[in-house]
Amino acid sequence: MDAQFWTYLFVGVTFALYISIAIISKAGSTKEFYIAGSGVHPLANGMATAADWMSAASFISMAGLIAFMGFSGGQFLMGWTGGYVLLALLLAPYLRKFGKYTVPDFIGERYYSKNARLVALICALFVSFTYVVGQMKGVGVAFARFLDVPYDTGVLIGIGIVFFYAVLGGMKGITYTQVAQYCILIFAFTVPAIFISLQFTGNFFPQMGLGSRTNDGVFLLEQLNQLTLDLGFDQYTQVNKQNLTNMFFITAALMFGTAGLPHVIVRFFTVPKVRHARLSAGWALLFIAILYTTAPAVAAFARTNIIHTVSEQPYEYLPQWFKNWEGTGLLSYEDKNNDGLVQYRADASANELTVDRDIIVLANPEIANLPPWVIGLVVAGGLAAALSTAAGLLLVISTSISHDLLKKNLRPNISEKNELWAARISIAVAVVGAGLAGLNPPGFVAEVVALAFGLAASSFFPAIILGIFDKRMNREGAVTGMISGIVFTMCYIVYFKPQLGGIGTPEGYWWGISPEGIGTLGMLINFIVAVSVSRLTTKPSQKIQALTESIRYPKGAGKPKEIQIR
């Protein structure tokens, strides 16, 4: 039985599992809640949050990027985990005490303003939409290879599947579905990593394997450093000194963005008590860390393996996986010097091998000659990661439109039936729109997603933090801050991303900061504008100040909010 058989089997079985969970939990109650409430154990809630959080970017894309970036890839590892520390220490418990149910809701109440709510809402839509685009590309890459179709067709199939999933009720009973998705994705990610770690180093734990000696008695990283050096690249573990400022900014943008992402924050409104909000963030990060500490090992193994199996080998005798991936257009070989060998070099004029980073995790089991069922498992895992995140994001998009925009802003008298339709239509538009954008995304999955984080960091993080820690912060400050932060960040991104029609070149980057890291600067601008403007305008009322004071103390927190999915 070949990989294709196993892919169909695993994808089919897991998909059926998600839909059945949705149907079963629907039968349990007449209304469907985005619960993480008293019925769900904090551990299960942590798993669901982890699945919600880890997307196609974490699963499919990140290890591949690290494999080719080496040391600098640490920005994704630190950036996407460090944000949870901020979330647990600075946001989650206070937001839980405040007791609202979406981020625009918090902003609207704390800053006593419909306009503030509207600005937050628009920011939430932008952030979530950009993030969904990343998921669509991930799904597209997976399907392209395993259904043997070009990438574009893969994305179109992806649109169909996510759409089908959302409409069929994949978002109902979302907490339980996400627990299942976490189990599948973490199993799918670690199994091949363990196999390969055993093959390479005899060490069961990939985290330890990364620092161990390979079977020839040399440390893996030392060997990889030598291999990369020989081909003209920087050594794998070497610090890229010209890139340090940029790495600093990207890491910070990812961290602060994590702490400002609407679909993550929403999780902490729904836990039973304030202390559970803190603990919940801890469990979530622990579950996330399992994947995030495995990924750098996968990256190093994959890079070593590719160099060993491809570099200087005759093209004709390359293994089957190479030919398979060529079919998707995501891997290509051009025999520049007509010697029939594959020259893989840092020097662009001599290099003959082009690899899309996003294929590494999916191709890894094939490259390492693992049994075909592992390959099917990995595809199912990637799909689980993409679907769980897409569902969380679509939930934010649909509640933003139906609840925050229509019900609270434009049409307070909207009937329940129409609210339901508005939610459905916004999901449909978001999926199709994101899919089409995914056909020509501005970069690799992880990079597209990184842009969403920059937007979140530059808009929400300061508004929420100041709303909690600064009693003097008022409506005028928060609104001008959010607008200046996100507008600055968007302009910089659009200007420097050729795929978005930008005319800037990397030479023009301010202090060498690439668009993925500019959210940090946007955030600083937001902070400065918000604080200055608030000091020049009137104080918030006594009532609001008292409210801000009260969220500092856990005592007296209300019941958790339940979020209805219609």
């Binding site: 161990s212 440390f219 893996l220 610090v239 008590k273 860390a289 856990p554």
Partner: protein, 83 residues
């Protein structure tokens, strides 16, 4: 000073300490000082590389659990917990 003020001050002190560690392991050890630290080894790992790819993540997880422990204790001490 009333007990709520003392509670809040103590909370801010915890935050300052824990966030300094957070900044130290990632932005300092994992980025700015990584090149210097790479001359030391932890098994097969150059140390700076280890912080960027492994160590900081382990520390992050510990930080949150330490914070949970400290705050639960503090809530109880000042009777500000939810019971």
């Amino acid at each position: 000073m009333n007990h709520k003020k003392v509670y809040w001050k103590q909370n801010l002190k915890y935050l300052a300490i824990l966030l300094s560690i957070w900044f130290g392991v990632s932005f300092l050890c994992g980025i700015l000082l990584a090149d210097f630290l790479n001359q030391f080894y932890l098994g097969g790992f150059p140390l700076g590389f280890w912080f960027a790819h492994q160590g900081s993540i382990y520390v992050f997880v510990c930080l949150i659990f330490v914070y949970v422990y400290l705050m639960n204790r503090l809530d109880k001490k000042y009777h500000l917990d939810e019971g």
